[in-house]
């Protein structure tokens, strides 16, 4: 516990000025339930996710945290047997409404996956894929997007001389940052990260964590993590999931120093999970 507290203080230092800002809501989840066939994976989820902050979703394996984040951009619908009820409102509109185009949602809500999944193309082509499918063809603009996105993902210095090489020649950590750059290229509003560092070594993990701190100035970030120290280090808000329910959702500070639920306390002190 002590180490978590210490690290948190360092990260939390620049907080006061942020508190002055008015906090808008990007996602408002209302009584959301989800089933895989007969198994209920999410039960009556209800909370609001703030704009331009890092919201961490923690919990033991199988608690529904990945399912939840995949519901936020409707990626969960890829599973054919999935059923849902309740609302997820993104910027005030229910994303499950019939007329809501899933492509529009995913253009505004980018996603970084558990394992780096660059396309089997060059680094350059990976970054411009998003802008290209959304109709940006101008070579000069695309070049600018590539530089800006790679800089935004703290990868530019490492790859600027080999933009035309295959992305699979990069290390795992670089690939993951490339996936983040690919996401940034279409200037999303929200970035969902599903355990983005679980397949990375500690140094790459640190780089991604630092990057998240940078990115939250411009983007709202929702990050699923297995690693409680990580949640404590990088997030502003934390939701603790257990067996498909949100046990506790509050400021990260609050949740880790003074959890209100016994189960949260047990989990963060390592008694289970």
């Amino acid at each position: 516990m002590k180490t978590i507290m210490d690290e948190k203080k360092v990260v939390k230092a620049p907080r006061p000025e942020e508190k002055k800002k008015e906090v808008n809501t990007v996602y408002s989840i209302e009584n959301f339930n989800l089933w895989y066939g007969k198994d209920q994976a999410l039960k009556d989820i209800k909370f609001d996710i703030p704009e331009k902050q890092v919201t961490a979703i923690i919990g033991p394996s199988g608690c529904g945290k990945s399912t939840f984040i995949k519901a936020l951009n409707r990626m969960v619908e890829m599973v054919p047997i999935v059923r849902m009820s309740g609302d997820i409102n993104y910027r005030g509109k229910n994303i499950f409404e019939n007329k809501y185009k899933v492509e529009d949602l995913r253009t505004k809500v980018g996603m970084v996956f558990q394992k780096p999944n660059p396309f089997p193309k060059s680094i350059y082509e990976n970054v411009v894929y998003g802008p290209k499918i959304h109709g940006i063809k101008n070579k000069k603009i695309l070049d600018e997007i590539v530089e800006k996105s790679l800089k935004g993902a703290a990868l530019w210095e490492e790859v600027k001389d080999r933009l035309n090489e295959n992305a699979y020649g990069l290390s795992g950590g670089q690939q993951q940052r490339l996936c983040i750059a690919r996401c940034l290229a279409i200037e999303p509003d929200v970035i969902l990260m599903d355990e983005p560092t679980s397949a990375l070594d500690p140094i790459s993990t640190l780089k991604v964590e630092e990057l998240v701190q940078e990115l939250k100035k411009e983007f709202s970030i929702i990050i699923v993590t297995h690693n409680m120290q990580q949640a404590a280090r990088i997030s502003d808000k934390t939701a603790f999931f257990l067996n498909g329910e949100v046990v506790e959702y509050s400021d990260t500070n609050q949740l880790f120093s003074n959890p209100s639920d016994k189960r949260t306390e047990d989990y963060i002190t390592g008694r289970f999970g």
Binding site: N73, M75, M78, P80, E103, D104, L105, R106, T107, K108, G110, M111, F113, K115, N117, P118, F119, P120, K121, Y129, G130, K132, I133, H134, N166, Y168, C179, R182, C183, I186
Partner: protein, 310 residues
């Protein structure tokens, strides 16, 4: 308990040792013989082709073979042996077949790999494979007795034997080959890559065309080239429905003759053993063999060269 099992294994081992030693020595030998037989058969066929082709070219000049525009081996006074009419007939059939097979085959592959539910795929794939199992003679009569009359309704001047009808039917025949091999290539593209594209707001069609297709390109091109080589070598359909009129033409409505159907014509007894006509089928066969060999080498080269690693 542990000790006793260890003992049992040891006892068994000792009993089997002499027998397994012999097996270990003999089995590789038998397997080697199996491999050698197929290699020897291939070499034997190529050797026969070469020897008989040389005999042919001792009677007909190589220059005539490659420069004459006429193929009239049955003219008794002055036979012509120019290969081009047979090549043009073959390529005409192949071209028409590819125009039919590539769009439909690729379309089917994209549908099966990117859109179809598991249930639909489980129904459609076996049906496609049945299509691949139909004997080509059946396709031949399908071309002659069904497709040609249908085409004659559209083009009244179309003769009974023409290039168009067997070309289309050869195309239909190789759809399953392209569909099945391309679908394999596309299905083996990892799902994580599709998710990456979908997560950027791509539609399923954009994912299919701009991510999956390029990633599977080497497999797809290889399937197309193999299909071309299959179309070049196709025999029964063109023999039944294409005619026996060697002609240097690109007009699809004319009766033509392919290399394969010429070989069939001669083999059926139009020429006696030892005549120039007899040897000509080996020269034609050699030409055909070179075509398909080159196509297969091209397929191999392409699938290595254009592989997008994932």
């Amino acid at each position: 308990m542990q000790g006793s099992i260890r003992q049992m294994i040891k006892d068994k081992k000792e009993k089997q040792q002499s027998r397994s030693k012999i097996v270990e020595k003999i089995v590789p030998g038998i397997l080697l013989i199996c491999a050698i037989i197929s290699v020897l058969t291939t070499l034997g066929i190529v050797f026969t082709l070469i020897v008989e082709t040389i005999t042919f070219f001792s009677q007909v000049s190589v220059i005539e073979y490659f420069t004459s525009k006429d193929w009239y081996p049955f003219f008794e006074s002055d036979p012509d042996y120019g290969i081009w009419p047979l090549i043009s007939g073959t390529l005409l059939i192949t071209g028409i077949a590819m125009l039919v097979a590539v769009p439909f085959g690729l379309g089917a592959a994209i549908y099966l790999s990117e859109y179809a539910t598991d249930r639909v795929r489980r129904i459609i794939k076996p049906i496609l494979e049945v299509l691949a199992g139909i004997p080509t003679i059946v396709y031949g009569f399908f071309a002659l007795t069904f497709v040609t009359p249908v085409l004659q309704n559209v083009i009244p001047s179309l003769p009974v034997f023409n290039a168009l009808s067997p070309g289309i039917v050869v195309g239909i025949m190789i759809i399953p080959m392209i569909a099945s091999l391309s679908e394999d290539a596309m299905s083996s593209v990892p799902n994580a890559i599709r998710e990456g594209a979908l997560g950027l707001g791509a539609t399923r069609f954009e994912v299919a065309v701009k991510v999956v297709l390029p990633a599977a390109l080497s497999g797809i091109i290889a399937s197309v080239v193999l299909a071309i080589s299959r179309a070049i070598g196709e025999t029964m359909i063109v023999t039944v429905a294409g005619g026996a009129t060697p002609k240097l033409t690109l007009d699809v409505t004319e009766s033509i003759q392919t290399m394969t159907s010429y070989i069939v014509q001669v083999s059926l007894g139009d020429a006696g053993f030892g005549t120039t006509i007899y040897y000509s089928i080996y020269a034609v066969g050699m030409t055909l063999f070179l075509f398909t060999l080159i196509m297969n080498l091209v397929a191999q080269y392409i699938s290595r060269r254009f592989r997008e690693e994932y």
